[in-house]
């Protein structure tokens, strides 16, 4: 039996004035999968993410997250939803007047009645899980590097062990080693916690190593499939994307890794 999808988008229309960003866009995100979302700069990936999490109202169409219609949700449902998803924004969006640990405690204190002490310890675990050194917990966002801010943002997104995680370009601006460890972190968390992850990314290595399927935002609509399926696609942009030098290099690297495992 096909399970209810975690996210179901039907006939989405998004426009700013006369500038149409999405039209007749359909997308189903399955429970427990890691879906990579790609598309040219300015094609509306961040706007799509913001629409799914209810920061923007769709001009038409419906969006269901965990079986709840986001657009028509009342405040109690929205509050429940916001405890079931975690969001990592493109540039972290940490609260600048709070330390990293306090940032992670914010969702815990908003949605649970845990004691002060438990909040603090859970927050420290999340900080550690996100791959930050322990002493980063008491630092302010302005004292962190860009990559550390991303990790702190991830720790906050994970604070409530959500069902769905939205990541907007999580590895952009990280060094390759940091990006690779971020990827394996995401994969590990996904396995351990059974997360559904929607990840905007242009990192070919992430697409190949962690994503189960890839959604391509193209001509205001979405085409979705595994990388192998998409490579069969005749659309020139998709062919260029996966068949270009970066795509081929990542594919080769991936093949070497999997071959190495077999032998």
């Amino acid at each position: 039996m096909e399970q209810d999808p975690a996210i179901r988008i039907k006939g989405l229309l998004t426009q700013f004035g006369s500038n149409v960003i999405h039209k007749d866009l359909d997308l189903n995100v399955r429970r427990g999968e890691i879906l990579g979302l790609v598309g040219g700069s300015g094609s509306g990936k961040s706007v799509l993410m913001n629409t799914i999490i209810g920061l923007r109202r769709p001009n038409a169409g419906s969006i269901e997250v965990l079986g709840q219609n986001v657009d028509q949700a009342n405040s109690a449902t929205l509050k429940w939803l916001s405890s079931r998803w975690g969001v990592l924004f493109q540039d972290g969006a940490l609260f600048s007047s709070l330390t990293v640990r306090q940032n992670v405690e914010v969702p815990l204190k908003t949605h649970t009645e845990l004691s002060e002490h438990a909040c603090a310890e859970l927050a420290e675990i999340k900080v550690g899980l996100a791959g930050l050194p322990p002493d980063a917990a008491h630092k302010y966002p302005s004292e962190l590097s860009g990559g550390m801010r991303k990790r702190a943002g991830l720790a906050r997104a994970l604070a409530l062990d959500p069902d769905i995680l939205f990541l907007d370009e999580p590895t952009a601006g990280l060094d390759p080693i940091g990006a690779a460890s971020f990827d394996s972190l995401v994969q590990e968390l996904q396995r351990a916690l059974g997360l559904t992850i929607l990840m905007v990314t242009h990192d070919m290595d992430s697409l190949y190593t962690v994503c189960d399927r890839v959604a391509v935002l193209l001509d205001r609509r979405i085409k979705v499939g595994t990388i192998a399926e998409l490579m069969e696609d005749s659309h020139p942009w998709i062919a260029e994307y996966f068949g270009g030098p970066r795509g081929r290099a990542a594919a080769d690297a991936r093949r070497r890794v999997t071959d190495g495992r077999k032998t």
Partner: protein, 384 residues
């Protein structure tokens, strides 16, 4: 609800068998449910319950949902038991949960934040810090004054360096846009002065001198002070907030790397705009205050406009006007300077934009009033 299973409660049963204790975790051990079980979990671990226990088994078989909070609770229980000298085994964690337990166990607790000083010492330390920063601030502001003056002079020598679009924009914002509020407040101050003066002077039958009082105090002091205070609150704060936000966005750093001088690009047009606009605003405030006072003496004392103007003419000379007006560009420069200076000193976050804006307004008004006192002493010495 599709995920109703998550909402099932977390349950804990303990089962004592001789020296062996079984802790049976069941239900949903997730962040949302943990709050209810926290106290209970601590209760099962007290000294009396543990007396004579040698082995404990934590069984996760019956757990339906398990996340990092559940893992944390399990591990914390295990650690407590071990600390009490009990041998602990965790059972029934499948591969996934085992991995999660390991991941959580590997995270280190953060070192406790550095502790501050206690009361009497902390008071002294703060006092000392404050004194030092006061000195450093004064020095930094003086340095900035020098820097800005240099850029000012350089711009006067080569006016093409002045950004005229920006200058006009700020003259519009700080000058034209503040006409309504400056006019209204000056008018009301005129009303108040006339009312108070008439009240007191009437006791000596010297009502007519209300006009003298009004004219002199408005032209020499009140007009410029009211204007300066409004401009500090309205435009000085805006300067700080604008420049501070740019600082937070690293726009100032970007400017420097492109080879733009923030003092020339940001400070010069703002400060110059204030210097040009403030004398005009002051003159306008003077007129509005005298209008307000004139209306009041007419209503209150029956001195009609013709008599009012005649009396004003007799009591005033051009010096009174100049004494007020000459302060305007000086105050304007100080307000602009402090506003931009505090903006540039903003730290990396949103909160410090707020702090700096408050500081800018307080400092600007403080300096304006101190300078006004100096001007008074100076004018009385030279006998104006």
């Amino acid at each position: 609800m599709a995920t109703a299973g998550r909402e099932a409660a977390a349950r804990l049963t303990t089962d004592r068998d001789g020296s062996q204790l079984r802790l049976l975790f069941a239900g949903s051990w997730t962040t949302a449910n943990l709050a209810d079980r926290e106290a209970e979990l601590d209760g099962t671990l007290n000294r009396r319950a543990l007396a004579g226990v040698e082995r404990a088994v934590l069984s996760l078989d019956q757990v339906t949902h398990f996340d990092t909070a559940g893992a944390w609770a399990t591990l914390r229980t295990a650690r407590r038991l071990r600390d009490a000298g009990v041998e602990v085994a965790i059972e029934g964690a499948g591969a996934d949960r085992q991995r999660l337990l390991e991941a959580v166990e590997q995270t280190e607790p953060a070192p406790s934040p550095p502790r501050g000083l206690r009361f009497p010492l902390s008071f002294l330390a703060n006092l000392g810090k404050l004194t030092l920063t006061l000195g450093a601030d004064a020095r930094a502001l003086t340095g900035f004054l020098g820097l800005t003056t240099l850029v000012f002079l350089r711009a006067l020598l080569r006016p093409s360096r002045i950004r005229f679009t920006s200058l006009i924009h700020h003259m519009q914002k700080t000058g034209v846009d503040s006409l309504p509020i400056v006019g209204l407040l000056a008018f009301l101050i005129g009303v108040v002065l006339a009312y108070q003066g008439a009240d007191q002077l009437a006791r000596f039958g010297a009502q007519i001198y209300t006009v003298n009082l009004l004219g002199i105090s408005v032209l020499r002091e009140m007009g410029i002070l009211i204007t300066a205070i409004i401009v500090a609150g309205r435009s000085g704060s805006a300067f700080t907030a604008q420049i501070g936000t740019m600082k937070v966005n690293q726009e100032i750093d970007a400017m420097r790397t492109i080879g733009l001088d923030p003092v020339e690009v940001l400070v010069l047009p703002r400060a110059l705009a204030l210097v040009l606009v403030m004398p005009l605003l002051t003159f306008y405030a003077n007129i509005m205050a005298i209008l307000g006072g004139g209306l009041m003496v007419w209503v209150l004392l029956g001195i009609d406009p013709a008599a009012f103007v005649r009396q004003l003419h007799q009591s005033l000379n051009v010096e009174a006007l100049l004494v007020g007006m000459i302060k305007a560009p000086v105050f304007a420069f100080v307000i602009g300077l402090v506003g931009c200076f505090e903006g540039l000193r903003t730290g990396g976050n949103a909160e410090s934009v707020g702090t700096q804006t408050t500081r800018a307004v307080v400092e600007a008004i403080f300096l304006v009033i101190v300078l006004d006192a100096f001007f008074s002493v100076f004018f009385s010495v030279i006998g104006v």
